[in-house]
């Protein structure tokens, strides 16, 4: 069983992290950095304003970057018949989805946390704010990954599924965003704890909701 989990994870990481034609982890990171770069251009070189709002911009950019790979998460495997073959081998949809949440997080969570360093420099954030942003991203991005995989499974096979999944993720990501970005204002641990709690709920739901969605899509 462990060997199978490992084989699934290795394949998911090769597809999502390294990417091949899909761009892998590079695309969300570059998107994230370009948003962080554009923001000072848009609001002007007002250093106090940038420092005050920069943390929130990083959060919005992270959320939008997490949406980018959604259409590659579940649908291709349904179309290829991978889920059929896994089911025949006794590998449940729940397990595949759980592994995919891990792989999806690894392919955008840590890279975004790294990219937040240059982004913070671009926005002129101080060290304390940056620390809260980084801890917040560590607590919040797993939830965003779980949410992304769940919604990708729900919209797999629908016409315009990619656009629809983006629209569905944004409102459901609001709790993570409020607590995550909110902890910047208070600077407190309570906001980060609530971010982590919202993340955990999403992670706990994802394998079951996603697995049921894949079975429904298979028909």
């Amino acid at each position: 069983m462990n060997g199978r989990v490992f084989a699934l994870l290795r394949r998911d990481l090769a597809r999502l992290l390294l990417g091949g034609r899909g761009g892998g982890a590079m695309l969300p990171v570059l998107f994230f950095l370009s948003v962080a770069m554009l923001y000072p251009f848009a609001v002007g070189p007002d250093a106090p304003l940038l420092a005050r709002t920069g943390g929130g911009v990083i959060w919005v950019a992270a959320l939008l970057a997490a949406i980018l790979p959604l259409d590659r998460l579940v649908e291709p495997d349904i179309e290829l018949g991978m889920f059929d073959q896994w089911a025949l081998r006794g590998i449940s949809e729940e397990m595949v989805i759980a592994v995919r949440v891990i792989a999806h997080w690894l392919s955008f969570g840590p890279p975004l946390m790294l990219a937040a360093l240059p982004a913070a420099a671009l926005l002129g954030l101080d060290g304390k704010t940056l620390r809260v942003v980084e801890i917040g991203l560590l607590a919040g991005t797993p939830g965003l990954a779980a949410l992304g995989v769940t919604v990708a499974a729900l919209t797999a096979g629908l016409r315009g599924g990619a656009a629809l999944s983006g629209l569905l993720v944004i409102p459901m990501a609001v709790p993570v965003l409020i607590f995550g970005a909110g902890s910047l204002g208070t600077g407190g641990a309570s906001g980060l704890a609530l971010t982590a709690a919202a993340s955990l709920v999403l992670i706990a739901i994802a394998p079951f909701a996603g697995g049921a969605a894949v079975r429904a899509a298979r028909g």
Partner: protein, 184 residues
């Protein structure tokens, strides 16, 4: 509703061809046997592992064929290189292992899917239009491989409108069980 009152039992070593025109439900019957689709009524019981070969190759299009097959070998618990090289040779795939799956022709993909099925070592084979896209030589090869599978105590259910030559194969004309459309 596609068909009703259908009852069949297959013992080790037996093969069955499900025949019938397009859209009559051959693929649906196979997916019901595989447990991938629910039957509206009735039950299916299968002893042993089930392998399915249908129009979906289930091989990553971006990967070289060798690595795409290696993924399934790992899942099926075969050691690296566990699939006998002569098996790939026999299927004419040995020279294609470095070619990305998306560049393979329909027939080559079908043969690759056959290699995946062989590696699974499943007891029950469900073959959905296994001869689609295969040339004359490959058709014979697929028939020989299936015959050997049955001779070794395996079961094969073949859904095809083409002739599939197997010794002592039973036929199931699905049209006999088709549910007639009720006139409104």
């Amino acid at each position: 509703m596609l068909f009703s009152h259908l009852s069949l039992a297959l013992n080790a070593g037996e093969a069955l061809q499900v025949a019938g025109h397009n859209g009559i439900g051959k693929s649906s019957l196979l997916r019901i046997i595989a447990g991938l689709a629910p039957a509206f009524a009735g039950s299916v019981s299968v002893e042993g592992t089930v392998g399915l070969l249908d129009e979906l190759p289930a091989l990553d299009p971006a990967l070289p064929l060798g690595r795409a097959l290696a993924f399934w070998r790992a899942l099926d618990g075969l050691a690296e290189g566990g699939q006998a090289g002569d098996e790939l040779d026999r299927l004419g795939l040995a020279s294609l292992l470095d070619v990305p799956v998306r560049y393979l022709s329909t027939g080559q993909k079908k043969r690759a899917a056959l290699a995946r099925l062989l590696g699974q070592k499943a007891r029950v084979w469900l073959l959905d239009e296994p001869l689609n896209g295969l040339d004359g030589h490959a058709v014979e090869l697929a028939e020989t491989i299936t015959a050997q599978h049955c001779a070794a105590g395996g079961i094969a259910v073949i859904a095809s409108h083409q002739t599939f030559r197997l010794p002592a194969m039973r036929m199931l004309p699905l049209s006999d069980f088709a549910v007639r459309e009720q006139a409104a």
